[in-house]
């Protein structure tokens, strides 16, 4: 039984090792073929040919964080729905009602965020 988990991990590990190694090796292998002419102007950040007008370390709008915040909450809710989804087919009306209550809570949090204006992009 636990053998299945172990071989899954081994397989995925091998897969990941291959997928990470190939681009790294390619990058290194073509290193000697690539030209390398460092130049101060080339190392400037791109700003349509002008010197950088403002530094890219400035506070951006809170809207980004609002979306991230609502996102993480909905992500957990989606995952819980995934956990119960496979057995929902033969869970009966009771199971459906239980999941329905959960979905109602999800909808309520969406409604709240909506009313609070957290879903508006400014």
């Amino acid at each position: 039984m636990s053998g299945a988990y172990l071989s899954d991990v081994l397989f995925l590990l091998g897969f990941a090792v291959a997928v990470v190694t190939i681009p790294l090796v390619t990058l290194a292998a073509f290193g000697w073929l690539r030209p390398h002419y460092p130049e101060a102007l080339k190392a400037e950040a791109y700003e349509s040919g002008m010197p950088q007008a403002s530094i890219p370390r400035r506070p951006f709008h809170m809207a980004y964080y609002n979306f991230a915040l609502v996102f993480i909450v909905f992500e957990v809710e989606t995952l819980l729905l995934f956990a119960v989804a496979p057995i929902l087919r033969d869970a009966g009306w009771l199971g459906l009602a239980e999941v329905g209550a959960f979905v109602a809570l999800v909808a309520l949090s969406l409604f709240y965020a909506w009313r609070k204006g957290a879903l508006v992009w400014r």
Binding site: A18, L33, A43, L81, P86
Partner: protein
């Protein structure tokens, strides 16, 4: 245990290499196909000079890309700058591990395969943010933020849509989902889910009409403005890997994957995936681009409620009809 453990690891290595090669070849093929399709739609001929009818154009482009100078802005954060493209490209290829390509080509049938496929690309967001932040460039920074905001926004409705499939199939394994579609593919039972899946997938992989993050008229090239050569190619590869993975996964979830008469499963899956890919390209060159605020409003105020309603209706209908 039927297969020895070192062999399983070796199989993982092998499949990883195969998956990466497939993605590389597919990217070349898809770029060419996309150029030709776009040319046809817009009444042009597309690339014609390299090889017959320009067939070798992308090969030439690939050679060019690996040979190009690797430029890094002087003020960039070196570690994060290097890590960014890897974190974008690697998960895109990793997610392919659970797609059942047909009887001999199931790479791995995980118990939680469907969830694995949805979870792994989420790591991409970290790569996007790192790439944008590390470049120390205004365009990259804004592009990275916008891309990641869009990605996370569409991830929720997309996942919620897939819940309906899992509910009907009664399993999180991709192979079981295929088995459950033996008699009738889910596109017939869940047409609205299929529609939602296609649209949100297009948005999640940042393709037109949802490619706001890379809107070249506003943000130059978005988070990969400062990247060149092979590192830039990794972003490119990731985009097409994501496009392909989403299409293949859609074919598995809704179109019955490799099932079909006469031809072997791999061919059927390839045909169905190709159809979805073609639709994606068609949309790209037909519809105009959305604005950033429209994109986010669509995700949260249209697609998310729609996917919730879809889920509830699907559950009720499934219950009422009884299996």
């Amino acid at each position: 245990m039927e297969v020895s453990l070192p062999l399983t690891f070796a199989a993982g290595l092998l499949w990883g290499a195969v998956a990466f090669t497939i993605v590389g070849a597919l990217t070349a093929g898809l770029v060419l196909a996309e150029r030709k399709v776009s040319a046809r739609i817009q009444g042009r001929v597309g690339p014609m000079h390299t090889g017959p009818h320009g067939a070798l154009q992308t090969i030439a482009d690939m050679i060019k890309l690996v040979m190009k100078e690797d430029v890094r802005p002087a003020r960039a954060d070196a570690t994060a700058f290097r890590l960014g493209p890897l974190l974008v490209a690697v998960p895109a290829v990793l997610s392919l591990a659970v797609i059942p390509f047909g009887a001999p080509l199931v790479m791995r049938d995980l118990n939680v395969g469907v969830l694995y496929f949805l979870a792994i690309p989420g790591v991409t967001v970290i790569g996007l943010l790192l790439a944008g932040w590390a470049s120390y460039d205004n365009y990259s920074f804004l592009g990275g933020l916008r891309s990641s905001a869009q990605f996370i926004s569409y991830e929720i409705p997309r996942s919620l849509t897939v819940v309906t499939v899992v509910m009907l199939a009664g399993s999180l394994s991709t192979v079981d989902v295929l088995e459950a579609q033996r008699s009738v593919p889910y596109v017939v039972l869940l047409p609205f889910s299929f529609f939602l899946y296609c649209v949100t997938s297009l948005a999640e992989i940042n393709r037109l009409p949802f490619d706001m993050p890379e809107a070249e008229s506003e943000l130059v090239a978005g988070y990969h403005t400062e990247y060149s050569g092979f590192r830039w190619a990794l972003f490119f590869l990731a985009e097409y890997a994501g496009f392909f993975a989403a299409a293949a996964f859609g074919a598995v979830l809704f179109l019955g994957g490799g099932s079909g008469p006469l031809l072997p499963p791999v061919v059927w899956l390839a045909v169905k995936t190709a159809v979805l890919l073609f639709i994606g390209m068609w949309i790209r060159f037909t519809l105009p681009r959305f604005r950033a605020d429209q994109l986010m409003r669509l995700a949260w105020k249209v697609f998310l409620p729609a996917s919730l309603v879809n889920l509830v209706l699907a559950a009720l209908i499934m219950r009422a009809v009884g299996s």
